[in-house]
Amino acid sequence: MSESSVPLPFRVIAALGLVVLLLPVVIVVLSGLNAGEYLTFPPQGLSLRWVRAFLTSPTFMPAYGFSFTLAFGATLISTVLGTMASVFLTRSTSRWTGTLRGIFMLPIVLPGLVLGLALYVFYATTDLGLSRSLTGLLIGHVLVTCPFVIATVSAALVGFDLSLEEAARSLGATALGAFLRITLPIIAPAISAGSIFAFIISFGQFDVNLFLSIPNLQPLPLAMYASLRYAFEPTAAAAGIFAIALVALSTIATSRLVSFKRMFGA
């Protein structure tokens, strides 16, 4: 469909939607470049002082690195588990599939605070050594990110033509080989989209962090909250600039990676 064939009202609505989506990003960027003492908008002049403050901060840089590592780990696990779960959910004929799908999606439905608190209580009372541990925090992040992978990969698998896999099997491929060489490249864009969602959700996660965060290692959202609570400096917005940049870069990098895969596949 050419652009001119899209009705004008739709284009106007789409443009408005784009503005609404981009406006917070613009405000964060400009606030982070504020020359004034406080996190205000419009900025009182432009300056890199808060960007420098972020880059030299003993709080923000470790928090940024920790959030990145945590999100990366959670994304890897969620992508593998979520893809496996999606394959099962879309191909299983069990009558429990619907119930299982509901359970898998529960973390999206539950308010994050409730999930965080529930996990905290579970860790604290079961004495499994997960309370205030990196493993416990990672499990929390996997729980909240996995449904996003499942949702996107399942959508791709629902319309998947199984005869392609069957053809590979008939030519001697094993079940795993057929999946890896036929199915996986086809659903790679969906896996990529799901993993991007997972990364973004994990990197910006606040609710689960609030209850499961570990001593001496503060994730970025909590560091930003603490900064706003006690100083209200634009350093938090400067951290936001780097968070936005990271998400944008990871999106671009992942989409490039998927394109390469397609290229190699072709």
Partner: protein
């Protein structure tokens, strides 16, 4: 009594391994007694053998400063690791954990949540026991322990921060906040902020019979509306700086800090009622002996004049020990560390507030939202 508390070294599974419940119940009771009372600390350093001390305090710049001024040295001197957790709130974490495994050994609080937690269970070491084992606590002003739960180590007075170039003449008394010259230019906080809680209770007392006269407080909030509502004091500073509010509830340290920066802001410290914004520490009752001893050492170090002088200077808080020095920024505005200067501070009946908190929050939010 501590009869229901088990020592942390005996989990249920371990207890079953040891034999029947009857066989272990007597030793457990004795150990409980020992753990609840027998840890002593004399103010010196000791080797904690690499133990971890779980501390809950505020994050951000606060954490950086505590780390720099105290934690690194503390860890070296006591051969321990301080696990610093700044993910507030602490209350649900105390309640969610088994009583014999408190999430934190030392916690820094503002009053409301501390009282709420104290009310929910006997999580904290009794104050007289703490004071008996924290030598530096002998040196604090009486108001620092008047709350009977923890030891306050730093404080700020509540005040109005007002713009000196807007709506003259300047305020001279608590009730001036309601004067017509500030209409539409008043600022306070969301109902979960301690400053708003104290402001509300102060209004109850000034305009009503006492702090329990909630109707007087509601009426005062109505008369002050419309109000600019902030989440944090930092945001209120920004509103003051931009002139979006001409008068706002604030703590005096932050008001003086703004004035010092050349912003046209001054403070009117409340004198009709004298609530204070406090930093108060508690020591958890049911931690293992090493962690408890470290907790007492940590609190003792917090009350040390060397730490207090540097910390309060950075945050513009006033220290609570008689030998501490008032930060230069506060001294410049006439704040003194004398018996007269700290007399008459009031601690609202927080237990009563917490009992009525749901009603207060709902009603005040309705008032704030209706303008």
């Amino acid at each position: 009594m501590t009869e229901s508390i088990k020592p942390p070294s005996y989990s249920r599974r371990q207890a079953l391994k040891l034999g029947t419940g009857a066989a272990v119940s007597l030793p457990l009771f004795n150990i409980n007694h020992a753990w609840s009372a027998d840890v002593t600390y004399d103010g010196g350093t000791f080797d904690a053998g690499g133990a971890t001390l779980n501390v809950a305090e505020w994050g951000g710049f606060w954490q950086d400063l505590v780390r720099k001024l105290m934690l690194d040295d503390f860890e070296k001197q006591f051969n321990c690791k301080v696990a610093y957790d700044s993910a507030f709130p602490w209350f649900p974490k105390f309640v969610a954990n088994p009583k014999d495994k408190p999430p934190f050994a030392v916690v820094n609080w503002n009053y409301p949540e501390m009282f709420k937690t104290a009310k929910a269970g006997d999580f904290f070491m009794p104050l007289d026991e703490v004071m008996a084992n924290v030598p530096n606590s002998k040196n604090v002003w009486p108001f620092a322990t008047a709350n009977k739960v923890g030891i306050t180590w730093a404080y700020a007075r509540y005040c109005y921060a007002y713009r000196t170039d807007m709506a003259a003449p300047p305020p001279t008394k608590f009730a001036d906040f309601w004067d017509a010259r500030y209409a539409g230019k008043r600022g306070t906080y969301i109902t979960s902020n301690t400053l708003q809680m104290d402001f509300f209770l102060a209004a109850c007392k000034v305009f009503g019979k006492d702090q329990y006269d909630l109707d007087a407080g509601y009426d005062a909030m109505k008369r002050a509306s419309p109000l600019k509502i902030s989440d944090f004091t930092g945001n209120m500073q920004a509103l003051l700086e931009r002139g979006e509010v001409a008068i706002a509830v604030q703590d005096d340290g932050e008001a003086y800090l703004q004035a010092k920066k050349g912003i046209k802001v001054a403070a009117l410290v409340w004198d009709e009622v004298k609530p204070i914004l406090t930093q108060t520490m508690t020591v958890s009752r049911y931690t293992d002996p090493v962690q408890k001893k470290l907790s007492l050492a940590f609190l003792n170090r917090t009350l040390d004049a060397g730490f207090l002088n540097k910390f309060t200077e950075a945050f513009n808080y006033a220290p609570v020990t008689k030998d501490a020095v008032i930060p230069a920024t506060l001294a410049e505005f006439g704040i003194k560390n004398t018996a007269d200067a700290v007399s008459g501070f009031t601690i609202p009946d927080w237990n009563s507030y917490l009992e009525h908190e749901d009603d207060i929050v709902e009603t005040v939010n309705q008032i704030f939202g209706s303008h």
